[in-house]
């Protein structure tokens, strides 16, 4: 064995230096790449939803000359008058050359079936308009809307389209005359669900979500905070408490459908609460969000330094006073952040609601905690499965609304943390 000059430590370090630098550079590049990739994917999601959903905020309407003929209202019940006939006669006067039953039917189909309900509402609100003649913007059929938005191809054979050449001719004439226009889609924000895309809105689902989340917040926040305070500040260290802790952590990872099954068994079958009600939905989501809130609240309580408790004890405060006067206020920002994140999670949940009947077609906007209702993500799911093409853009628009809610909730959480967080 040849004895050469022994390598000094410095030399060994220098030899490996280039490799270590390279490793670090690679690691950084890797991290940067991961961030860029996830931002790109998120951007792709937003852009594709935005592009698809944006047109839904506009809806084609048709300007019709409606003559509220006195004779049509010569019935006892104004509700039961034939409002469809008003629309039909107006369409006939626009295209007097259209003859024959089949052709007329095609013509009437350009206006939404919801137009007659709009007229009925106008008459019910103000009976004085009977006998007068007015120009009114009424919703056009979803097929007309799709054609104007370019979702129906004109170059395919007539039999392959839902609109005939004749109908497209009428639509072009109306557009040229300025009687057919895309307007801001207020219906989308004021109506409940509908089978007609042009009449469908998210108001019902948004209200359902609000009622459901109100129940969830009212129950899960106090219960969650109380549990966390007890476990963190008062509970004796024992096996029993350890068991409780393990179970809470476990619950946080239980698939949400399980909570739905539990809700079905307990709230509906034993307590006999009504199906499809936000009350039950809120209770089920409470069970689901509780573990999240408890874990976040305990972390917030843990981060309050012991010196604060000791100082409070030092001036003679009781245990309860220490907790309520000092520890809890300091831990509150963290607890609220955890609660908001739990709420945001609950807002996006559909699986547990399936079992308790909140995946349903509900037209009337709910007005209370026991009215049948649905929630935003369920509405998105139901629209995504509808055959009518116009529901595609509405699905994306509803997703945009849901994302807006989620982003603002998370922004509030970040804001609270920034504003009230204290560092020791």
């Amino acid at each position: 064995m040849q004895v050469g000059k022994r390598e000094t430590t410095m030399e060994r370090v220098n030899r490996g230096l280039a490799r270590r630098y390279l490793q670090e550079r690679l690691f950084r590049l890797f991290g940067l790449g991961a961030v860029i990739l996830s931002i790109c994917l998120l951007g792709l999601l937003f852009v594709s939803i935005g592009l698809k959903g944006w047109p839904a905020f506009e809806q084609t309407e048709i300007l019709l000359d409606i003559n509220f003929d006195q004779e049509l209202f010569a019935v006892d019940n104004l509700m039961g008058a034939d409002y469809g006939a008003l629309v039909k006669s107006s369409m006939r006067s626009l295209f007097p050359e259209v003859k024959g039953r089949a052709d007329k039917r095609k013509l009437y189909r350009l206006v939404s079936s919801g137009a007659s309900y709009v007229l009925r509402k106008m008459v019910m609100e103000d009976t004085a308009i009977i006998g007068s003649s007015r120009k009114i913007w009424l919703p056009a059929d979803d097929e007309v809307d799709m054609l104007l938005k370019g979702h129906i191809r004109r170059d395919v054979p007539e039999s392959d389209r839902r609109l005939s050449d004749q109908q497209i001719g009428w639509i072009d004439q109306l557009t040229e005359a300025g009687l057919l226009k895309k307007k801001f889609n207020t219906t989308f924000f004021t109506a409940g669900d509908s089978r007609e895309p042009e009449l469908a809105g998210i108001h019902g689902a948004v209200m359902g979500s609000i009622y459901t989340l109100t129940i969830t917040l009212l129950l899960s926040f106090p219960i969650g905070v109380a549990t966390a305070v007890y476990l963190e500040e008062f509970a004796p260290r024992s096996r029993w408490i350890d068991l409780v802790e393990v179970n809470i952590n476990n619950l946080a990872a239980v698939p949400s459908i399980i909570f739905g099954l539990l809700g079905l068994a307990v709230f509906l079958n034993i307590f006999g609460m009504p199906r499809s009600a936000p009350l039950v939905g809120g209770l089920v989501l409470t069970l689901m969000t509780l573990p999240t809130i408890i874990i976040a609240s305990r972390a917030a309580l843990k981060s309050v330094p012991p010196s604060i408790r000791e100082a409070a004890f030092g001036v003679g405060a009781s245990k309860l006073q220490v907790v309520t006067h000092h520890v809890l206020p300091l831990a509150m920002p963290g607890m609220m952040t955890g609660t908001i994140i739990g709420m945001a999670q609950a807002l996006g949940e559909t699986a547990p609601l399936l079992m308790i009947g909140m995946v349903a077609f509900i037209v009337d906007v709910p007005t209370g905690f026991t009215d049948p209702s649905t929630v935003l993500p369920v509405q998105i799911y139901l629209w995504a499965d509808s055959p009518e093409r116009a529901f595609v853009e509405r699905t994306s628009a509803a997703i945009m609304i849901l994302l807006a809610f989620l982003i603002s909730m998370n922004a509030i959480a970040v804001f609270l943390r920034r504003k009230f967080e204290r560092r020791w």
Binding site: R195, L268, A360, D364, D385, P387
Partner: protein, 351 residues
């Protein structure tokens, strides 16, 4: 400690029972409907018009699937159970018996029309001209040995040309619903079993060993040629537009809405058109039903009016608004028969 626990339990039981009596007593002022996702688009259309044109509230409709709907429907006759259930198949004997056992004695059956199941592909590819036998041979798990003999081999076909030399030389790739779907049940029963029966020795087996016959005819291959694409039919439409060689299986209304992008394959030489399904010429079509709990008529407001609206020609007739949504109407005589049954609430007797 124990005393506390016992008193706590007592309090919660009292609270629970008072809560349940509170909810049970409150009754219900809207119709509750559950059931098939295939009937859902039609039932919701009727419900919406009913709600807007009468003084009654709009019925609530849950999409639970035919089986799930009947399970809820047959759970009892209390006011907290659904009033109507939609089904994309007829009620089974076992379900009917369960209904009877749980006190749901009188049920009215109303057939509402037909739904065609189509096999469609993108317009970018040639139209497929299939027979039921082609469908069976292309999609079954085990098929008769192509070299002859009365025994089964695992499905050896990978292109349509191998199945039938008249078909194009493209890979067999079919996107369809999963086994939980009623559309899948009907497709298997009507198309695959129909093709299966055309093979003499398998048909003969039906009498001898019904179970074996069913497992031969109803089992769909699992080697990747049939792709379960979930319950969302829109997704299947989008996928077959994106991959032109693939075929998709879904309800007629989706073909009706997307006629500019996709085309329905002919089955046995018949095009899947509205007219052909209505006349019964197109072989893969199934009846749709709903079932009414007679005991709830008169208790839940608006029940008989809803039935009248659904069974009016304005709704389910040849030119009714449901045909715009893709429902294939029944012939006039059949419509009259079921409208009469709905009006008189003739109880169903299943033997």
């Amino acid at each position: 400690m124990w005393k506390k626990a016992v008193s706590l339990a007592a309090v919660s039981i009292i609270l629970g029972s008072s809560a349940s009596s509170l909810f049970a007593a409150s009754g219900r002022d809207y119709i509750a409907i559950v059931g098939s996702s295939t009937v859902y688009p039609f039932a919701t259309t009727v419900a919406e018009r009913f709600g807007k044109s009468t003084r009654y509230k709009t019925p609530k409709i849950e999409s639970t699937g035919s089986g799930g709907g009947l399970k809820l429907f047959c759970a009892g006759s209390g006011i907290d159970t659904p009033d109507i259930t939609n089904a994309s198949r007829r009620i089974k004997m076992s379900e009917y018996e369960k209904c009877q056992k749980n006190g749901v004695k009188k049920i009215t059956e109303v057939k509402i029309g037909y739904d065609g199941i189509v096999l469609a592909n993108s317009k970018a590819s040639p139209k497929m001209q299939l027979t039921k036998k082609d469908i069976y041979l292309a999609l079954a798990k085990d098929v008769p040995d192509p070299n002859g003999g009365e025994h089964l081999v695992p499905n050896p076909y990978s292109t349509w040309k191998e199945v039938n030399s008249a078909l194009p030389d493209t890979k067999i790739e079919v996107l369809g619903p999963p086994p939980t779907s009623g559309t899948r049940d009907a497709f298997v029963e009507l198309a695959m079993e129909g093709g299966c029966k055309q093979i003499g020795w398998i048909k003969a087996m039906k009498k001898k060993d019904k179970k074996k016959f069913k497992s031969i005819c109803h089992t769909v291959r699992e080697d990747g040629a049939y792709i379960e694409a979930g319950e969302n039919d829109n997704l299947i439409v989008q996928k077959i537009v994106a991959s032109p060689t693939a075929l998709g299986i879904f309800g007629f209304s989706y073909l009706d809405q997307n006629g500019d992008k996709i085309q329905g394959s002919t089955v046995g030489g018949e095009e899947p058109t509205f007219e052909n399904i209505a006349s019964g010429k197109y072989p893969v079509s199934r009846p749709l039903y709903f079932y009414v709990k007679n005991a709830h008529v008169g208790v839940v407001p608006g029940m008989s009016e809803y039935l009248a609206e659904f069974t009016s020609d304005k709704a389910w007739g040849e030119e009714g608004y449901l045909s715009d949504k893709g429902l294939i109407p029944m012939p006039t005589a059949e419509r009259k028969q079921f409208a009469a049954a709905a009006a008189a609430l003739t109880p169903l007797v299943l033997k």
